[in-house]
């Protein structure tokens, strides 16, 4: 049940009715909290309950503040003259408004506490969830349970960033190092957050029972397979090995996510759409990660070794200008398609 903040200005029976509207406008619509739905039968965890409890406590606190302010206003009315009373009330109202804004800004910092329940894990739990993310479970008649935590996924994304950086071991990459770091972080976080949001949106269209938090957790743990594959294949540069791991490990983690989604969706078309999209994006991301960074390594090796590229290999990024025959046409070739470049280079 989604609990939104009931505006504290609702039950206002104070002595300053002409200023009541002023307060309500300042109040706004509640606090800046990401309200997670506590929805389905499988999310029996108390994580969402904790979040709602904190939110309710904070609203009560704001209510108590406002009620105390109202009592003080009432006391002053009988004492001073009208002008003093008016200025006093204006000052107090502005003070209250400023204080409320400041405490709302402060609650943005204290929003850390809203994320706290999602980090409430033990190392043994993280370990078991990592292993389970590689094991597809074939139960599709009942919704499978997804652990709603953010520690594991966040650490996996950071680990993926570290592995991507480690993949660039050759010292010549120092020139590209500045942009690679930002690119690696942007790629991994962009994938995790962006694809989660996109699949959540599709799940909303396909009427699947999954929350945003669960989607983030599911996709985050799905990156464990990516970490393993990239860690191994960045150290052992064999294409056949990479394809084998891509199918095996990547396929297993994709199957696990697909099985979970199928168990939470009704209808064959919806299942196909949702799971097909997720499977395609997940597998293609692993492919992209391997080849995007592998390409840079190959480009450097080409400049070192020359144009000795077997025809079945991948195309280098740039034609080395050291080729005497291609020097004149280097600029032209670099602007045309890569396939043309391979053909011309093999001559």
């Amino acid at each position: 049940m989604a609990t939104t903040a009931a505006p504290a200005g609702g039950a206002r029976s104070g002595a300053g009715p002409e200023w009541g509207g002023f307060e309500e406008n300042i109040q706004g619509g509640g606090s800046a909290v990401i309200d997670m739905e506590n929805m389905d039968d499988t999310s029996g965890s108390s994580f969402e309950d904790m979040g709602e409890l904190h939110q309710r406590l904070r609203e009560e606190e704001v209510d108590a503040d406002a009620a105390a302010a109202e009592e003080e206003d009432g006391e002053f009315l009988g004492m001073k003259g009208f002008k003093g009373q008016l200025s006093r009330q204006v000052a107090d109202q502005m003070w209250q408004a400023g204080k409320r804004q400041a405490s709302r800004a402060f609650s943005l910092y204290a929003n850390i506490d809203i994320l706290r329940p999602y980090f409430d894990v033990e190392p043994a739990q993280v370990r078991s969830r990592l292993l389970e993310s590689m094991i597809p479970v074939k139960m599709v008649s009942f919704p499978q349970k997804i652990a709603g935590e953010l520690y594991g996924p966040l650490m996996l994304v950071f680990t993926l960033v570290a592995i991507l950086l480690h993949g660039m071991k050759t010292s010549d990459t120092i020139i590209r190092e500045g942009t690679l770091m930002g690119t690696a972080i942007g790629t991994c976080f962009g994938y995790w957050l962006g694809v989660s949001s996109f699949i959540y949106f599709l799940a909303y269209l396909c009427n699947a029972q999954i929350t945003m938090l669960q989607m983030l957790a599911l996709l985050g743990y799905g990156l464990f397979g990516h970490c393993i594959v990239l860690f191994i294949t960045y150290n052992i540069h064999l294409h056949a090995l990479f394809y084998l791991f891509w199918l095996l490990v990547g396929g297993l983690s994709t199957l696990r996510m697909v099985a979970v989604l199928v168990s939470r969706t009704v209808g064959p078309t919806q299942r196909l759409l949702l799971c097909g999209t997720l499977a395609a994006l997940h597998m293609l991301f692993l492919l992209y990660l391997h080849f995007a960074y592998h390409k840079v390594v190959e480009g450097i090796l080409d400049t070192l070794e020359g144009p000795n590229i077997p025809p079945m290999q991948r195309v280098p990024r740039d034609i080395p200008a050291a080729l005497p025959a291609a020097r004149l046409s280097a600029t032209v070739l670099n602007a045309t398609a890569k396939a043309v470049a391979v053909t011309l280079q093999s001559h």
Binding site: H54, A110, I112, R116, I174
Partner: protein, 236 residues
Amino acid sequence: MAKAAESSGDPGTTTPRPLFAGLSDISISQDIPVEGEITIPMRSQIQEFDSSTLNESVQNTIMRDLKAVGKKFMHVLYPRKSNTLLRDWDLWGPLILCVTLALMLQRSSVDSEKDGGPQFAEVFVIVWFGAVTITLNSKLLGGNISFFQSLCVLGYCILPLTVAMLVCRLVLLAEPGPVNFMVRLFVVIVMFAWSIVASTAFLADSQPPNRKALAIYPVFLFYFVISWMILTFTPQ
């Protein structure tokens, strides 16, 4: 008041109520009038300290601060379970170390076609935002360390890696080769392990006992990234 009720929460339980107690420290009570002077709710001895050191010479101030920073460097180099770093935290040491590291890592690309500017900014941003992320993570896991204390410890524990950077630059003056690389790899690995041991000695006590591994793992990743930046550095 609802605040008083929350601040009486038991810090030993897993509910995050004790954190709400911090709110009552900075909230201003209802009966302070709008006009009047604002008093800063800090410890009074800090104000006495400031007023008594206002008239001393700049050299005295700088030497005192440098001595404090140097003392903390010693604590990092010989890590024992003490809380000197935690008690009197300061951010001068981390700033000096971060700027030194960024400057040394930057000079590599001055001669290349790429501008040396982004290199400095990248290192700076990675160090500070990495430290902020680790601090947030350890707080979310239930640690009772303050934000700046954690930043202070993580920044000071970059010292071994800065030393590794200096050693690598000296080693790179010799002729390049696999031996050169092995020496640098060995030095960086040793300093990386030293950094992690030092930061663990300071940070581990602030975590719940069964979650130390969860809090230390991002520290490991953080120093790994910095070590990687140092190891893959070449001056050409």
